[in-house]
Amino acid sequence: MNYTLLIPEILLTILALVIILFGLLMSDKDKNMLGYLSAAGILASIIAILGTSGSASFFYFYNSLVIDPLSQVFKLIFLTVSLLVVIASIGYFKNNPHQDEYYTLLLLALVGMMVVSSANDLISLFVGFELASMSTYVLAGFEKKNSLSLEAALKYFIIGSLSSALLLFGMSLVYGITGSTNIPVIIDYFRANPLLAASSLGVIGIIFLVAGFGFKMALVPFHMWAPDTYEGSPTVVSSLLAAGSKKMGFVAAFRLLVLFAVAVVPLRLDIQMAFGVLAVITMTYGNIVAISQRSIKRMLAYSSIAQAGYISLAFVVTTQMSVAGGVLLALGHALMKGGAFIAVAVVAYMVLSDNKNAKNTDDLENFAGLSKRAPITAFSLLVFLLALAGIPPSAGFIGKFVLFYAVIIEAVARASSWLLLVVIIAILNSALSIYYYARVIKYMYVLPPTGDKIKEPTPYVVALVLAVIGTIGIGIYPEPFIQMAMNAAHVLGV
């Protein structure tokens, strides 16, 4: 067997272990280099993955892992987000004595996500899921003296565990019906026995899977943890959660639910309809509640929920186009949202450097006159927010463009008025979201600054600039990314 395709995972796992070992030996000050080490490892993995692009699928470990375009795209998303987060963390956790643990956990979470994106078996899926979840539980509560961070971690943990249990329960039912944990086998079985899939046991199994993935995706009503956790966690971790681990839910759902919807004809419409309802509620709820937020992190959390609603449109029509759109928007969202949280981290840094004991560092007021105080951050955040609102040319626009297109052509092709309704609601939502993004922009650019200009720390600037380049770059030259997303969607046979 040729394991070269697994080099990124192996490399990162070893790196994680090496870092924790180094941490035992190093002085607190030397630990600052661990961030660079992690970044180097992630960069190497990105290069390794880019080097292996192709449309073939490779199976490993008794078909429990698969390397295919879908997995590679999502791995790229995870790696990119992690890279941004790690670079920002170099600044965020500078001189923190527990950096070794932080980077280890981060890398392990990354490996977990990558495993999920490659999972071809319920067991590997679950294990990857849990690896990522548990690492992030700890990361969310990483500031162990900070009660908000801990509260965030606790809520994340409880709802996360509940969802894991639901997921496991759902998996057990699926296994019970099909007698296998291997995803292709399961799908084939359902295709052959659609009535079994449509039995109440099968449906309940699916619903539990939806709930389990929905938790990660932060779909309403499984989203409840997300605002609290994003708000309370260390900002770089929020960035990882919102931009990275959320996509884990999507890749798993793509692998399992999209295939399921495609395979099981009698249930297809119901699943699509159910996701239609979820998507509409999610985006509307996310956008409307985001309007009344004063905390930017919380606002970004709700915006993240709304974006999840858009991405879920991929499940509403389950065509190649829609999945590709979902993948593209997931990619775009990773950059935009990751970047946005990092920008918030810069603001927190700025506020804390004004006043050590400042609370609510992400309050809207702190963004007043940001364009004067931290121009690069302000401009980056401007780009991210506009991209999130779907203004071209940006990754957010391309993703939404393909997604909305996928839905509208299905609506036209099927002459389906409810699909049309879904897409119109999505569009109105998209316009509505401008309202709260623009408010932040107003604070940054229109209102007078409340302090002096600061020197923006280099790691943050590097991370922000990378994210901006990515966000606009995808908007200006989307062709390879669309190809990638189309290939990824093609894997699902849609």
């Binding site: 297109y405 119109i424 998209s430 401008i434 309202y435 623009a438 669309i482």
Partner: protein
Amino acid sequence: MALISLMIAIPLIGAIITFLTRTRQQARAIALISSGISLIISLFLLSRFSSSISAPQFLESTQWIASLGVNLKFGVDGIGLPLVLLSNIVIPLTVVFAWGETKQANQFYGLILLEQVGVLGVFTSLDFFVFYIFWEIVLIPMYFLISLWGGPRKDYSAIKFFIYTHVASLVMLLAIFTLYFMAPPVDPFTGQRTFDMFYLLNSYQIIASPILKDAIFLALLFGFIVKMPAVPFHTWLPDAHVEAPTAGSVILAALLLKMGGYGLFRIILPILPFSGSPGKLITLMAIIAILSILWGTFLALAQRDLKKMVAYSSISHMGYVMLGAAALIPLSVSGAMFQMFSHGLITCVLFMSCGVIQHSAGTRIIGNLGGIAKHMPKLAFLMMAGFLASLGLPAMSGFVAEFLVLVNSYITLPTFVILALFGIVFTAGYHLWAMQRAVFGTYNEKLGHIHDGAGYEIAAMAILVLLIIFFGLNPSPVLNMMTTNANQLVALAAGLKGVIT
């Protein structure tokens, strides 16, 4: 030679450099130079343009997003070139007018240049995807111009402008999607589709379902009439204008509104004859047009803020564009196109006048002004010229346009033309009322000592007034460009005779 992309790229580069400059002297110089180069290029295009060809000229096409069939395709024809010219005239003059801007000057001029990029892109792109992108890009600099340099209610107005027009563009996007999907693939073997504008517009005819056709039509129309804006989707405009800085208002009224009108000719009219129920749709357009004309007029009468009055007059004037388009007579269509060009010039003068008055007297409320001609004779003279042009005085460009629209639209839409004529008296009414109250009469001593507009302001306005008179006396150069395309649009609708009631 990719002249058109060069024409769009130069202001973009200029904008980036402008953003990076440190002093306002550098910023405005670069802004003027780069917008001026763009103007020179468009004049060169004009000199090489053949007005007897209806197809786009100076075509250039570069593949952009192969998988979606998106090409960076640019070209100008008789619909686009006059507006390109207008944009390139208005933007440098706006820079000149705003020569004295001191507040964050580099950003100010940079945003103006970005507007130029956006509108030029809209008027030249022949690919729906690219068109849409430019269409959206225009919003952002305008949002900033309003919210950074705007008046007291700038937040409300800026966001209202942004969301309102964004919703409209998204609805338009839906229709573009549908067209894209319903058009047969350009390459039947690979299933490759294309966003090519003409290809998609031609494919509109082969859509089978009349309901779907009408739905596409209405969605596109909605996108454009919000931008124009037409009643009842117009309320964002007065708010935006009242709060926007003068340069913003000028660009908004002179160029952004024209995007909606441009859409009517570029997109709506070519598909109108093939829609499901063209007769009803034409009636609908005519009703919207006449509503806008009269509504704009009467609301302008009710305004006490000079700038708001001018904003409503824009609504009224853009109604003529719609009316001429809906009438589908060759000269009514060219008249409507000419109305866009002419209104672009006239409205600049009006908003610049408001700006100078606001700047000098500190208020734009008509009742608080009075007799300012005494201290601002140059402004009063140019403002008078602008107002007279706006109320349709012959020998000014507005008259030519409105005359062509009214005379020719009567052939197919007599009732609507009679109603429009009815509005003309009131149009004169509010213009003269405002002049009498604000500019003439006894000087209101409460205003204290006011001074005339600065030299650069007066110069910008004077150039515009000269252009207005020039095109009023000699409309042929611009009109001839439009005629070929107008004839072609009407020829498409030849089958509609008798459908129109």
